[in-house]
Assembly symmetry: D3
Homo-oligomer: 298 residues x 6
C-alpha cells in the first residue's frame, strides 16, 4: 500500500492502479531507452544512500508514492519515510531516507521528486486555505481543475492538507450547471424545477442533486424544486449571507468562483457549508525539496 | 495532426502517441462510467456552440490538443482554432469555437480546458523569461522538472513561448552530475577527467558530453577533459563571467540553479550560452480561460 | 455511437470505452490466430447477407453493440438495425440485417450473437418484473451481481427493460451494510448512528447515505441518524408495510433480498420506493436469436 | 497458480493471463475510484475473517480464482480453500475461509462471489448433464456460446462438471457449417466433398476436419469425403441411430442442436460420440453462495 | 486489410491485431520522442515521393504491411503496391510507390523496410525449398522457430513462398515429443501407446494427435496406438523410406531435423508427407531493398 | 535484473520494460490458450531438469533473458546460468541449467531458445567483425536495421560481441541524410551548411550533429559547417583514406555502406573512427543451441 493514495484502490483495467499508471508514464518519458550517463559512469555494484530534505516549509503529500517510484525502478531499494502524509515540515527536515544501488537511485530521483513536490504543493496550499477558516463551519473542497492523470493523487493531497473532496468526476455526482439549464429553455420557464426533476428521475437514487445558481431567483426555484445542494456561483458576500438565511438548512450551500486565499475567511463567515477553490490544484507551486546522495555509504 | 505537439510522433507501444495517452487518462478519470448530469438533463439531439475565451493575457499552447479532446469524446464535433500555438492573446480574445452535440461538448469541456490552461501557463511564463533577455546571446532552456505524463507537451509549450529544449530525458543526453562524480572518488582525484572519458567510451558517439561543475577548479578540469557542455551550478555572477572568459568557446556554458525572472537578465549578460529554469514547468500557474456555451445555436 | 450503451462514455485509460474492451476480449478469445475454416473454404471476394431473427419473444438490448462487433472485424460491413433497444419482439421478427464480405460475417457472428442474446436476456427478465408491478410507485433496480466486464452494458439492458439503475459500483454511492456496522461494535451501541455520521463526514457531499437494516430497531436508528435511503434486507411483507408507515417519507426505502418474479407485486404493494433484484443480471437466460446467411446475395 | 484455470497459461500480450484480465476488468468496474463506504466507516487497521458458504447444492468451479480476487485487492489476505474445483457441495458447506484487513475483504467480496457463483453454475449444470448419461459412451461437450471474456474459465468449469471441451475458438479446429457450404454452391454439387478437400489442403495438418450435416445425403457425402468428425445438426433420434449404424466408426459423430437435460439420455443412447449443448454456458444460473464476515476475529 | 497477413484476424485483447502491435512496437522504439533530424531540417509542408526498389531477386511478403507502417505514421500518405505478396521479383523492380508529406515518409522508412525485408527474406528462402522439391508429394512446412512477436507474419511469408504451415503454437496441435514420453517411463513400457491414449482422452476431439519418434520401434508403437501424424526425427534416408513403406498411409509422416536446402530433394523422394525446416524462419537473411526519395515531386 | 539487457531500464508506459513486452508477446503467440499436449500428457506434479547446450561455437547474449522466460511461465523454476553474456562458447558447453515443474519447462522452452539463439547470433557475428579489426582504432557500430521489437536487446548483443552502439533511434541522435538535404535544394546551394545550421538551432544542445556525405565536395562543406560526425557513404578505400587525411580530427568519420566481414579490415585501415554494418542485426543466423531434459531428476 502506498501512503498518499487510498489503499486497495483498483481503478484500472490494466491491472495497475491509477497511481501506478502515472508513475509508469513518468518513468517511461524520463528514462526512455536508458540512462546513458549513469550506465557509463556508475559501476553496477556501487551503492549509495540518499535523503529527501525540505528546503521550504509546507505540508507533505505523496511520501509513499515517492517510495513506490524508487521500488519501481529497483525493487531492492530501501525507502524509509521519516514523516507521514499530512505532516507539516520546516526547511532542513529529512522527509525520507533511501539506500540501494546507486544506478537505481539516480534513475528514479527526478520522477520521485517531481511527483512528491507537486503533491506537497497541493497539500500546502490547501492547508493555508483551511487555516484561514479555522473555527468556521464550512469545508474547503476541491474541483475538477486537476492535473491530467493525477486527479486521485491530488484529491488525496487536498485531504492531507485538511480539505475535503467534491465529486471525483462526472459519474459520481449530479451537478447541474448553467449550460445544462440553457438546454431546457430561457430563464422564467421553471427550467430549474424541470432540471431537478429530470435528474431525480434518471440518476441513480444514490446521488444527491446539486445545482448551480447565479441569482436569488434561481436559488428560490432550486429550493422549491428540492435540490439537495446549491452552488452559489460568483455571488457577493451580502447575497451569500442572504442565501444562507433564506435556505435555512433546506439544502447545502456551496460558495464557488474566484475565491482566493485572502477572501476565503469572509466567505466562510457567511455561513455557507462548502467553499470550492480551483486554485488548490490548478496552480499550486511545487514545494521545494532536494535529494542528497552519499555514494558508498548505503 | 495536433498543433501544440510534434507531428507524427509515435512514442508509444500502445499505438497511441504520448499526448493521446494523457488525454485518454484525463478523460477516463473525469468521465468515468458516464456523465450522470448531462445524460439526465440534455436530450441526445440537442446541439450547442461554444467559444474558448481568454480572461487573462498570455501565450497559447495546446490549441490543437484541446480540439483533440473534443474529437475524442465526439468525433463529429467541429473545432475551429482562431489563433495558433505561440500567439500572444489579450483578455476577451476568442481562442477557438466549437460546435456539435451538446452532450459531447459538456463532457469534454473540463478536460480540454485543464490541458489548454496548463500548457498555456507554461508558454506564458517562458515568454516572460525570453522577453527579459531580449537581445542576449543565451537560450532559455527547460529542465526535467515537468508534470508527470506531460513532458512532451510541456517541452512544446516551452518552444511556443520562445524557449529551447534541453534533453528530453535520460536517454538522449549525457549530463554528469555531482552524484555521478562522487562515485569516482573524492575531489582532487581527477574524477572529472575520468568521468568525461568514461562517458566518451560508453555513450553513443551521437551524444555530446555535458558535465555539471560547482567551482572553478572543476571547470578547468572539465575543459581539459574535453567536455562539450559545462553546467555552472549555482554560481554567482562574477564567477560565471570569469568562466565565460576562461572557457572562451571551448565548450558551451549553461547557467543553472535558482534563476528567477528577476535575475535572468543579469545571468544572460555574463555571456553564458544556455540558461535553464525549472520554474518554466514545475510551478507555472494555469492561464485563465473559459468556455462559453450557446445551446441550440450550433 | 453504439445503441445499447451510453453515448460518449469514455471509461478507459486505453482509449477504448468499456464496451469496446469487452468486445475486443471476446473477439480475441474466439478468433485467436485466425478462423481456419473460413479462410480455407470461403474465397476472400465472396459476399453474403444475413439477418438476425428472433426465435423467442422478449426485449432487445445491445443492437448497436452487435453492429459494432461486425464493424470491428470488418469495417466495410453494412449493419442495419430494424428495431431499437428496448423494443419488444416476437418470434420470427428480423432484428437486423447485415451485408458484407462473407469471411467477416462468419468470423463475427458468434461473438455478436453471444453479446446480443445475453443483454436481451437481461432486458427481457427486467421487463417481466416491471410489468408485474405496473401501476405501483416502486422502481425495479439492479444490483452489483453483474457479469464480470459487462456491468455498464447490463445496466443499460436493465434500463431498456424498463428498470432503473442502483449505484454503478463502490465509488458512486454510499451503502452501509451489516459487515460495515460490525466493525463499529455490537448492536445496541448506536453503531447505526455512528456509521451514518462517519459516512457524512468522509464521503463527498454529492452522495446520499444509504444503509441496510435487518430489523425495526435498526430502522428507527437509521431514520434518527438521518439516512437518506434505507435498505430493508429480507424483511417479510408486514414488516415492510410497517416500515413504510413509520418512515413516512423521511427516507427512501429499498426492498432487497430473495425477491422473485412471483413475489415482486406484493412487495411493491407495501409502498416501498425501490425493489432490487440480483436475478435481473446474475441468472438471466440468453434470449434465443439466430443469424441466417445467404451467400452471394449481399 | 490458480485452481479453476489451466496452470501456466499465458494467453495475453499484456503479460497477464486471460483470467487476470477479466478479474482486473471486474475489479475496475466495481471499485472504480474507490469504495467510499468502506473507506469512511472501516478503520484501516480493522481485521476480519470470512467464510464462503454454500446456500444451494452444486459443483464448485473457480475456487482458486476467488482467492486470486482477494489477493489482487490486498496481497496480504489469507485465503484458504476448503474444497477443490469439481467437488460437489451441499447447502451449509464452507467452501473457503478468508482472513485479512477488513477493507480489502469488503472491497473484493462482490467480484469474488460474482465469478465463483457464475463458474460454479456452469459446473453444476454440466454435472447434471453428465449424470444423465452415466454409463453411456458419449462425451458431453461445450460450445462457443460462452460469456464474453470468460471462455477459458467456463471451459474449465465444464471440465470440473465432468464434461469435455470442444475447440476453444475458430483457430484450433476446423468446423465446416452450412454457411460455409452455401459459398460453394447448391446442394447436389458435391460441395461437401469439395469443402472437405479445401480444408485438407489449406488447414494445418494438425487439425481434424469436422463438418456439420443436416440430412442423410450430406452425411454420406461427408463420410465419402473423409471427414474426421461429423456434426448431426438437429436430427431426430431415429436418424441419429441410423447415422451411427451407417458411419460405423469411420468418423466421430457429434449430436448438436436443441439438446436439453430431459432429452440428453436418449440422445446418448443412439451411440453418438459427442453431445454438445450451448446451455452449459449461455444460460447457467449462478450458484447461490454467500460470504459471512466476522469483524475483529481474523 | 493488410496484404501479407490474414484478413480480419483479431488476435489481441488490445483491440489491435498482432501485426498492428509489432508495427507499433517497432515504431515506438525507432521514433521514440520524435525524429530530431527531420523536425529540424524538413519544413512541415514539404512533400515527397518515394519508390521501394529491389536490389536482389527474391519473393516479396509484407507489401501491405509496409503500407500500413506509412499510414500509421501519417494517415494521409498514398502507398501504391506494384506487386502482390508471393510475387517473384528481380533487381531493379519497383515494389511500391509512396507519396506524402516528407516528414512522415522519412520517419516511417526504416521500420517499413525492416519489416518488408525480413518477411521477404522468409518468403524467398521458402520458395527455394519449394522449388527444390517441385513435383514431389511432400509439403514444406514451418516450425515454431520464429522471430518473437512476428509468428503470424512469418507464417504468412512461408505461404507466400509456397510452403505450408504447421500448427501455430502449442494450443492448436498435439505434438508429443521425447520429453513428454520421458515423463511416462522408460522405453519398452508402451509409453508411446499410453501417451497417444492420454492425448486422445484429454485434448479436444478437433485436434489430430502427432507424435515424434526417433527409431523404428517407436514408429511401430505409434502406428499401433493410432497416431494421426508421426514425426520422423533426424532419421537417415533409408530409415525414412522404410517408414513410408511400413506405415503405408495409416498416418501422415513428417521428416524433421537438420534438413537443409541441399538435402531436401532427397528427403522428399522418400515419400514422406511433410518436411519441416526451422531455417525458413530462424535464419533467413533479409532481402535487400531500398527506398528512393524525390523531394517536392509528390 | 536480467542479464543481456540494461539494468533498471523502464522503457514502457505499460509498466513493463521493453524486453518484458517482447517476451510476453512471444509467449502469447506460442502458448495461446494453453499447451494441449503437455496438459494432456504430463501430470502437474512431475518435475524435470534441463540443460541448454551449445551445438556450435559462438558468443552468448541473452542468458538472463532466457531465464526470465522460464520465470514468466512458472515463477518457481530455478534457472542457473553457467556463463555470462559476452562469453565465447564451444560446442558441448552447458550454458545454463533449469529445474522445476515439467509442465512449465516444456511450455517455456521454445520461446527461451528462440530469443537466446537469435541474440547469440547477433553477438557472434559482431565478434567476428571486431576480431577482424583487432588492433585498429575504429569502433564497429550497429545500425537501425534491427528486428522489430528487439532493438534494445540486439544493441546489447552487439555490445556483448565487442561492438559499440550507434544512436538508439531517431530521437537521440541527429543524422542528416541525402533525403534531408534534397529538401533544401540542389547540390551546390550550400545545402550542407544550411542543414547543419538548422540542426544546430533546433535540436537540443545535448546532441552532436552527424551528416552523411557521398563525395569529397560534400565532405568539405560538412567540415566547414562544423559537423561533429561525418558519415562516408559507400566510398571506396582511397577516398576514405583521403577523407581521413583531410578532416584530420576536426570531425569523427564513420564508414558506412556495403561493408562485409571480408572488407572490414581494409576499411579500418583507412583510419576512420567508426564502421557501421547493418548485417550485424538484419541477417545474423541463429546460434544453434538445444535444451536437453531429464524428467524426474529435478
Amino acid at each position: 500500500m502506498i501512503s498518499g493514495t487510498e489503499p486497495h484502490v483498483q481503478s484500472s483495467v490494466s491491472g495497475r492502479t491509477g497511481w501506478e499508471q502515472i508513475v509508469d508514464l513518468a518513468l517511461a518519458e524520463d528514462i526512455g531507452t536508458g540512462d546513458v550517463t549513469t550506465l557509463a559512469i556508475i559501476p553496477s555494484d556501487t551503492r549509495a544512500t540518499g535523503a529527501i530534505i525540505a528546503k521550504q516549509s509546507g505540508v507533505i503529500s505523496g511520501i509513499g508514492l515517492a517510495g513506490f517510484v524508487f521500488h519501481r525502478v529497483d525493487p531492492s531499494v530501501v525507502f524509509t519515510p521519516m514523516i507521514q502524509d499530512g505532516d507539516s515540515i520546516e526547511p532542513g527536515v529529512t522527509i525520507a531516507t533511501i539506500a540501494g544501488a546507486a544506478r537505481g537511485l539516480l534513475m528514479a530521483e527526478r520522477v520521485a521528486l517531481n511527483i512528491l513536490q507537486r503533491l506537497s504543493g497541493v497539500a500546502t496550499i490547501t492547508r493555508s486555505y483551511v487555516d484561514q477558516i479555522a473555527g468556521a463551519h464550512a469545508r474547503i473542497v476541491d474541483t475538477r481543475k486537476t492535473t491530467p492523470g493525477m486527479r486521485g493523487l491530488e484529491k488525496a493531497a487536498v485531504r492531507h492538507g485538511g480539505g475535503f473532496n467534491h465529486r471525483f468526476g462526472l459519474a459520481d455526482g449530479v451537478l447541474i450547471k448553467d449550460n445544462h439549464l440553457a438546454a431546457l429553455g430561457p430563464p422564467g420557464s421553471d427550467r430549474v424545477g424541470r432540471a431537478v426533476a429530470l435528474a431525480r428521475s434518471h440518476a441513480p437514487h444514490t446521488l444527491r442533486i446539486e445545482i448551480e445558481v447565479t441569482n436569488f431567483q434561481e436559488l428560490e426555484e432550486a429550493v422549491t424544486a428540492g435540490a439537495d445542494v446549491i452552488m452559489l456561483d460568483n455571488m457577493d458576500l451580502p447575497t451569500m449571507r442572504r442565501a444562507v438565511e433564506f435556505v435555512a438548512g433546506r439544502a447545502l450551500l456551496e460558495a464557488s468562483g474566484g475565491i482566493v486565499l485572502s477572501s476565503v475567511r469572509e466567505v466562510a463567515a457567511t455561513g455557507v457549508d462548502l467553499i470550492s477553490a480551483g486554485a488548490l490544484t490548478h496552480s499550486a507551486p511545487s514545494l521545494d525539496l532536494s535529494l542528497e546522495f552519499s555514494i558508498g555509504a548505503g
